[in-house]
């Protein structure tokens, strides 16, 4: 049985009076791809950020390879370096070229030499087919290209898991394909991933498990085909119908 890489137990996140995540337990195993989907504002992004310890959970625990990250005194910077994160709105560093974006973490967190960092960064850019664009600034790249650099930035750190928070939803429809292709390749290589995505064809193809998330909790989970054929809950069924209609329209 494969080892669990990242896991949360009884996780809560509360902002003032709003409960964004309520009592969620979830684990991602080595080589596994889990897809999280659900209506906007359901707390998916918050859950993803809690798992990456970018936001402190209000209650509950997060474990990275069995090590509890929610205890006081844990070096969270080290932990975050082991968890890749790709943002919905990309968030490249504006003052650095594509290469500089990928090198920053390698140099300053993994403390690599300049040469070594550059070599590794170029390799990561090659994996996302952006090596010719290495010297361009983010503002000079298209949204799809920027997101590929965002993926390379996470990938280069050689993380144990990559969390992708709706990596294609801020892109124009004609640009999502190039990003999806890259993700497909990552999936083939057996990269451990938690993906928030509503690209249902892609989800069906790569996911080991899909999780329907609504109002801060897991409503229903199962293999992809389960959702495409016979979701148990009303809410999931209605959401799937709407998504499929929308996909057909596109």
């Amino acid at each position: 049985m494969a080892e669990i890489v990242l896991e949360c137990r009884n996780l809560w996140k509360i902002y003032g009076k709003v409960v964004a995540v309520r009592d969620v337990s979830l684990g991602i195993k080595e080589g596994e791809i889990k897809v999280l989907f659900g209506p906007s504002g359901s707390g998916k992004s918050t859950l993803a950020r809690c798992l990456a310890m970018l936001t402190k959970p209000t209650k509950g625990d997060v474990f990275l390879r069995g090590e509890c990250l929610t205890r006081p005194g844990v070096d969270l910077n080290k932990a975050r370096a082991r968890i890749g994160f790709v943002f919905q709105h990309i968030w490249l560093f504006n003052h650095l070229t594509a290469l500089g974006n990928v090198m920053l973490g390698l140099r300053r967190v993994l403390k690599m030499s300049k040469e070594e960092a550059e070599k590794r960064a170029r390799r990561a850019l090659r994996e996302v087919r952006m090596e010719e664009w290495a010297d361009h600034y983010p503002a000079q790249l298209s949204g799809g290209q920027q997101q590929r650099v965002g993926i390379a930035r996470a990938l280069a750190m050689d993380p144990e898991i990559i969390i992708l928070d709706e990596p294609t939803s801020s892109l124009d429809p004609e640009l999502t394909g190039e990003v999806i292709d890259i993700l497909r390749e990552l999936a083939k290589k057996g990269t451990t991933m938690l993906i928030i995505s509503h690209e249902m064809l892609f989800n069906r193809e790569v996911a080991d498990e899909m999780i329907f998330f609504d109002e801060g909790r897991i409503v229903e989970r199962g293999p992809p085909d389960h959702f495409f054929t016979m979701p148990k809950t009303d809410r999931a069924r209605r959401f799937m119908e709407r998504l499929i209609k929308q996909t057909a329209r596109d």
Binding site: N77, W91, N94, R108, Y137, Q140
Partner: protein, 217 residues
Amino acid sequence: MSPLEKLTFILMGVPTTLAISILSFFLGLAIGLPLAFIRAYGSKPFQILVDAYEKVFRSVPEIVIMLFFYFGFGSHLREPFKNAFFTATFVLGLRSGANQSQIFRGAIRGIGEEQMVAARSLGLSRLQAIVYVMIPQTFIAATPGLGSEYALLVKDSSYAFIIGVLEMMKRADVVRKVTLDTVFPYFAAAFLYILLTFPLSTYLDMWGTRKKKQLGL
């Protein structure tokens, strides 16, 4: 005195004027940059302190503060305030710190929280994120504002005249008193001040604006 002699006499004040301006600019930088980050990321009591500091220097005249330090401390022959050059530079530096804090804070706000989150997601510490991600962008975004601040300091360095520093303004005034020429020295001084401020601040404004556009800041 021929016009050339008058001009030369005034020109000899340029090093002092520039020294006051440049030293107070860097003192202001050393104060303003940390204050801006404290204001943006510090705890509430510190934010209030920074606010108060900015408000005081925004609304109390530099001249009053110079007189306060120079005659308050200097009259008792207390180092270093009895040195008028020091006092002028010190006061303008404090004032510039308040201005630069505002300039940098505006720049930080424009860059936004997302750059910070993205940096932390790679495992950078808060301090590393500030040093490697926030500060470089802050400087680029702040360049036009810093250019105007430099020009402001060159102009305000003339207040040092009031506590007796022999800079350009004082020299122009000396020429008037000695030669009773009430026209040439002041127009010459005005021209020289514009020459010291206009080219550099225009260049910084253009460079900063272009760079900001290129980086989408």
